[in-house]
Symmetry: C2
Subunit: 242 residues, 2 copies
């Protein structure tokens, strides 16, 4: 067991605070990227889409900075197990935030493809609803991270199934549109990928909730992960082939 | 600068060797998951699909083991910058392999949805071709990782565009099938997601190539990343809406 001097402890606390600030910055950026991606999709705003794509590099850079800071902190301060978990937690959360940023960027990349073809208000309301749910999940889980609030983290973790359920119904709705009007096929496939991206953001919020549990409790969440995503096995029965 | 004793150096080398072995095991598992996923899709083999889904937990567990080993090695041995890069590299590579495993699992989850509907030999040949390309990329990049072979890593990195190109043409082909025969819409959307998953495996192989470069050279790859994926902006012009 390493004994920390008072100086080391102070330096270590400062390192942890830096990491916390960097995660908060990254989280704020990721949230904005998501709401911007929805806006760009709704307004078919190519210029906003370009901004989102460009901003993703900042999120990637923050992840690298957090990784470097985390690794150097471990190497320099030789923290105890409980403190190591804090740093491993920062590493994991930044990984998930980086993936969330990628998913927002992928939605932005599709804005161009749906431009001028997007006349599906019901579907767009579904996409909007999913986005709001995911944003609220991410806000809550980042809050839980900042306060090390395990109860709140577990709450986020339990509610992931709701987003999957909306995605499932959206997936079926899109399949129906495509069958009714072949001209909508192209735009509907892009919206399916957008919805899938949003659903996966929810998975990353769930990952972050698991990380918070691990950081505070020192072990992994005991329950089975809540999963309602059935789009991978959704097919329209009457379309079964020969 | 930390001075390592001879004992520490030996212990550190043993830690690095352990990490290398774990990455090799994880890589081998990921490769098998990919080829099994293709087999399950081709043969519409629900039982193989279940095995793939179950095996993914082993890949996830290996990632956690690698993370723990890497973090403890840094905390205990306080390695120098060049050695830190080795460990950070192992962390990054295991992240990418875990993601590859997830993508293979997602393909396996779709086997059920396409069962009995899969009668698209041309498309399946395209999917098979993409899978072979990705498997060869992953094999090469894991080889490059084991030998710290930067030249080979850069070669993998440069060839990612080829997989994207196949995915683009497959995407257009699938759109065409869907328009010609609405009964194929459901199965075609699943195949689009499968193809996208394979294309993203290629992105992770590219990430690993970048990590090898960083480990050996101590800086990031200078060139712009090769990217030919245009499916996000692919729409069929004549389908442009009102």
């Amino acid at each position: 067991v390493t004994t920390m001097t008072e100086h080391t402890i102070k330096a270590f606390d400062a390192d942890l605070q830096d990491l916390g600030r960097m995660i908060a910055e990254m989280g704020g950026l990721a949230e904005r990227q998501i709401s911007d991606a929805l806006e760009a999709l709704k307004r078919q705003d190519a210029s906003l889409a370009s901004t989102i794509i460009a901003t993703d590099a900042r999120i990637d850079a923050l992840q690298r900075e957090i990784e470097e800071k985390a690794i150097l902190t471990i190497a320099r301060r030789q923290p105890l197990a409980v403190d190591l978990r804090e740093i491993v937690g920062a590493l994991r959360v930044s990984n998930d935030l980086e993936r969330i940023g990628d998913l927002a960027k992928n939605i932005a990349k599709r804005v161009d493809a749906v431009a001028g073809q997007l006349n599906l208000p019901t579907v767009m309301r579904g996409v909007e609803h999913m986005t709001e749910m995911v944003l609220s999940q991410i806000k809550d889980v980042l809050d839980a991270y900042a306060r090390r609030d395990v109860a709140k983290a577990v709450q986020v973790w339990r509610s992931d199934g709701e987003i999957d359920a909306v995605n499932n119904s959206l997936f079926r709705e899109l399949l129906t549109y495509m069958m009714e009007d072949p001209r909508s096929i192209s735009v509907c496939t892009h919206l399916m990928f957008c919805a899938k991206n949003i659903e996966r953001m929810g998975d990353h919020a769930t990952n972050i909730a698991e990380t918070i549990y691990y950081m505070v409790e020192g072990r992994i969440l005991p329950d089975e992960r809540p999963k309602n995503d059935t789009t991978a096995s959704t097919s329209i029965p009457f379309m079964k082939g020969p």
